[in-house]
Amino acid sequence: MKLRPVSLGVLALVTTIATSIHAQEVRRPYIVQLADKPVATYTGEVAGLPATKPASGKLNVSAADVQAYMAYLDQKQASVQATVANAPVLYQYNTVFNGFAALLTDAEVRALKKNSEVAAITVDEPRKLETNYTPKFLGLDQPGVGLWDKLGGKGSAGENIVIGMVDSGAWPESPSYADRVDANGRPTHDPSGTLAYSAPPADWHGACETGPGFTEAHCNNKLIGARFFNASFLAQNKTPHYSDFASPRDALRGGADAGNKGGHGVHTSTTAGGNAMVAANLGGIPVGDASGVAPRARLAVYKVCWSYLDAGADDGSGVSNSCFTSDSVKAIEKAVQDGVDVINFSISGSQTNVLDSVEVAFFNAASAGVFVAASAGNSGPGNAVAHISPWLTTVAASTHNRFMGANVTVPGAGTFQGASYNQTVLADVPTILARNATVTPYASMSADDQKAASLCYTDNDRASPSLNPGGKITAATRLDPAKVTGKVVVCDRGVTARVDKGAAVKTAGGAGMILADNGAGLVADLHVLPAVHVSAADGATIKNWVGAHLDATTSMTKAAASVGATLAPVMANFSSRGPNKGDLNTLKPDLTAPGVDIIASVSGPGDQALRDAIANGTVVPDPAWASLQGTSMSSPHVAGLGALLKNLHPDWSPAAIKSALMTTTYGTYNDGVAGMSNGQLPWAQGAGHVQPNSAADPGLVYDSGRTDWLRYLCGLGKLAANSATCTTVGAIQPYNLNLPSLTIAEVLGKATLTRTVTNVGGAEATYTASANLPGYTVTVSPSTLTLAPGAQGTFTVNLTNNSAPQGVWRYGSLTWSDGAHTVRSPLTAKAAMISARSEITSEATSGTQAMTIGTGYTGGITVKKAGLKPANRTTGNVVTDASPDGGVSACKAGGSASVVATNVAVPAGALAARFQLKDEDTSGFKAGAIDDLDMLVLDGAGNVVGNSGSATANEMVTLTAPAAGNYRVCVIGYAPHNGSATYTMSSWVLSTADTGGNFKATAPALVFTGGTGTVATSWSGLAPGYSYMGAVQLVGAGNVSSTTVVSVDATDPLPAANLAKGQAPAN
């Protein structure tokens, strides 16, 4: 579907939370050490729990024994914390220290001193705790073995490595960007602080660009570069929203205006390389110290995302924040020129084209030795992984196990733990179900209203076309103050933003909210009233009780951070899944990293007046922090890790860094998602969850570089085989690109994959292979490799199908081990009967084409053909379409002036159909501008069977072997030049009755299991100036068929644009 900007609405945090928590009693930070040994030194004293202290080498945190002992410690810690239940727990430790950090009153300290489980209580000063939890979750700070320690500690981790952030800019007031420290060693912008960073690296060529709210003084020896790129944005003729600044400064975030959508770039940059020891708070609630993954890296921001007025914004705010492709490409180019070592790109991207312009820019960046991390996208659990090119590292998102939670007790139903930042204790508050608290009684509502009654819509939510299509949900569902005032309301998660539901309850006078999950997973939010987000199962229990008891009450505790209460990592539901839709033979995403509930700096809130004061320099705004989730948040973790590995191994290529990160991963826990989207499959987690301390010393790497990637593109057909590049470098099969993952989409009985490993260890080592793949016999040849340091070894992985069914993916792994290193790659394969290209193209009026097919059986094969047939050309006019669903409902309804419908009959036995628009066939293009038209194809039942939504009018939908029926093709005026466009559409419906151009197709007489064959097509005598189509269908054993479209465009066509629409930060 259309690339609508991703909504930031669900993440909008409300800052008007009560901040009176410090008023009652003074709390001070303490560290409470408990009696049991931590994991790293535990030697098996507790009955039933084996030792976890590693005999030698590193602690394997994912080992079952370690996990079991951690669970035991967590339980003990919870029982101690329960005796001081009101104390905010900042952090919990179990690996090298057993205990927790908490803000305690004097009375609580005294109580704990008497507890036999407590070994010691010490004042937390100076604070060394890294409470932005993810560096700890990643193990970066583990003494001795952590990657930070290997680089001299967090005071030097990432030293002199420059991370370039192509995003929405910086909020320079954040201490995460400071280059000075105060007397306690904490980052500060105070000019009296001690300079903690030397001048930028000598080879740094960046600049500090200025503009409203951003001067050269905002750059320093930490934030060493700041540029902004808005040429493409300005060219869109959008009206900028006041919250933004035409400078490297990120837009305002939050406050009273839902259009304040900045902060993304601040969050991602400080996650990747923000300073350590930055005391963070969320809406005034201290949440401990935050640190970037590479805290000593230098940062350079390249702002490409802009806020502007957009009536169609999904969240109804009227404002979108988007990043336009050519701005991004320029920014990437500039970043490479400036001399960055790492680029992070937390912006969505092409799901089908490895040569999308941004991917090409990254090709060059990676060729220049820049490690690139990019977000996989937030369209999960659907198959929508973006950034599919092999030269960058595509990052999925998963959970970590710091849990901000509170307990909610409903006497009679039980006590439940849920996600929460609640800071106000509730005791025995009357409680009601949302569906029983509406202005119109539930039983009297329409069916649509009944469905929405428990979802707690705000008035704004009901007014939003995207949240309430057709306005079917009425004010009958509004919460009734007469029923709600002073009560806790139980709302269901879904459709509207979680924080909106809290706002709806508060507006109606509610005292609190219990938010029942819908299976998507718990998230702690800053709500405007006391609220706890409980699981779907707990929610059902609560709802059953409350629904049956008019006198039900709720008590709620304050939130506290805890660790390990939930299994982590688990793949985030929103993380986009593979397979790679541009090339089934390379795995995407590559790996996963923390991307749920990530705390980092953001822009501050404000209004127009504050914005103007910041812009003209009369006000210095405060720093701010937020907890966000998304693959936008996981990608900068990997960018930071890339910086650390580059720091540790300056000679490693981007591919080597990626390999080290991938081959040392561990698997995530089951997320319960069904089918191919399950979190434990490589489509979701890639190779697995990063384990950076192992990545520092991976043993072997799968390296690749520019020449390998070009060969891959030639083999993939993205570069023409007879192009100068391909005749110079040659071609490889895509599955033979030297990636640390092995993926083959069509095993035709048997297959051989080739890889080369490089020993990056310090000594000669002998590695032995082991491999498995259910349904296949797998052999590795040679099965042992003895490699000197720096030496390379090439091997093949040979698959023979012994029982794998056709067309079904199977999942296994390949592991090389020398006893000290384990180098693991996912091995993923699908069996096939016939493998053939989907399309053959030519521009010649006569010619032949030879196409190699692969076959997975032995026997005969038959060939059917249709065409060649010139396009049926129809002319139409379309005006701008503003429908919120991209024209789907209008198309179903038969079309309109802005969704122009054409009915097309497809006969039985049709081999293919294609519908195509081209820029040169539109009035806007002819006038020297661009018409942005889109296309939608419905089958006879009204189902969407194809759509095409590029940023221009180059649109195409192809159906192979379509069922007979009356189809409807709709041309949608997404943004025609001057509001209206005349276009000519080409369409072809191809059946075996269609002949022309002496078109002929031949297939091999016999084909063989695991074999190949040549399918030839020939044609002659076509008339120049027409665009022809044909189709070849191969039918093999078991009636398995494969269709190849033959496109002969004899119009001497122009090179086609292939632009995706404006892209939003994929947070």
Binding site: A731, S842, G847, A850, T1002, A1005, S1018
Partner: protein
């Protein structure tokens, strides 16, 4: 054995040379280069033909397909500049139009005058996929059926790869001995080496569609109208051949 045959072939060549000199019809023979440039692009199933000048080329199914009664694609013309979009392993060194024998098939060449000679050709291995190691995977095989019956077979390894990993076209001068032979038909096919280094393409030993070749620029000679003089010449050739056969039989025990 090989040396013996060489001697025999020298003898034979002398006889043929004499025959050519004797035969007035040979003066009327036409030598031309069969380069496919004027051919309408075509894909062929086994048994289908096209003509180039005085010559007719018929694609033939693989020996295995013929043995089991299957028919399918066995050849096509190719344009070095445009036919290779989906075979990533088109050979290098010929950007013009050439003929490709595919799927273990062969091409059978005849002349209108039922008399043809061949002295050289360009040829290459047509690999099914790119990225193969640089290795000699097989041979081109020429089998001529002589005017009086009987066949001669000549085979030669395919060229390896250029520095870019593409299999190269190579020019094969067939040698005076072969060039002087008059054939009623000429069959060109490919074979692939098996693990025992035997080059295979038969009904019992199939290379499974991967014995594929490209040919171009065949230096061919034919006689437009066979006449008395030509028949005389044929008679001379027939005598020479029976002499060769006798000598060959005699030589065998010495090997």
């Amino acid at each position: 054995m090989i040396r013996t045959r060489s001697l025999l072939q020298s003898t034979l060549a002398t006889a043929l040379l004499s025959a050519a000199v004797w035969a007035p019809g040979a003066q009327a023979s036409i030598t031309s280069m069969l380069d496919f440039e004027g051919v309408t692009p075509v894909a062929l199933n086994g048994g289908e033909s096209f003509s180039v000048g005085d010559y007719r080329l018929t694609a033939m199914d693989s020996p295995l397909a013929q043995a089991y009664g299957f028919t399918g694609g066995a050849g096509q013309t190719m344009d070095g500049a445009s036919s290779c979009g989906v075979i990533v392993a088109c050979p290098s060194g010929d950007a013009s139009r050439y003929y490709a024998g595919t799927n273990d098939g062969s091409v059978n060449i005849t002349a209108a005058a039922n008399d043809l000679q061949i002295s050289s050709l360009k040829y290459a291995f047509l690999a099914p996929i790119g990225g193969l190691m640089d290795f000699t995977y097989g041979q081109l095989v020429l089998t001529g059926t002589k005017l009086n019956g009987g066949t001669i077979t000549l085979s030669r390894d395919f060229a390896g790869q250029d520095p870019q990993g593409n299999f190269m076209f190579d020019t094969w001068d067939l040698g005076a001995d072969f060039a002087k032979e008059h054939f009623s038909s000429l069959s060109i096919s490919a074979c692939l080496f098996n693990d025992a280094a035997v080059c295979i393409n038969s009904a019992t030993d199939s290379p499974m569609n991967q014995a594929q070749f490209a040919i171009d620029d065949l230096q061919m000679t034919t006689v437009p109208e066979p006449g008395t003089a030509a028949l005389l010449a044929l008679g001379a050739i027939g005598m020479a051949m029976s002499a060769r056969r006798r000598l060959a039989n005699k030589a065998l025990p010495q090997a």
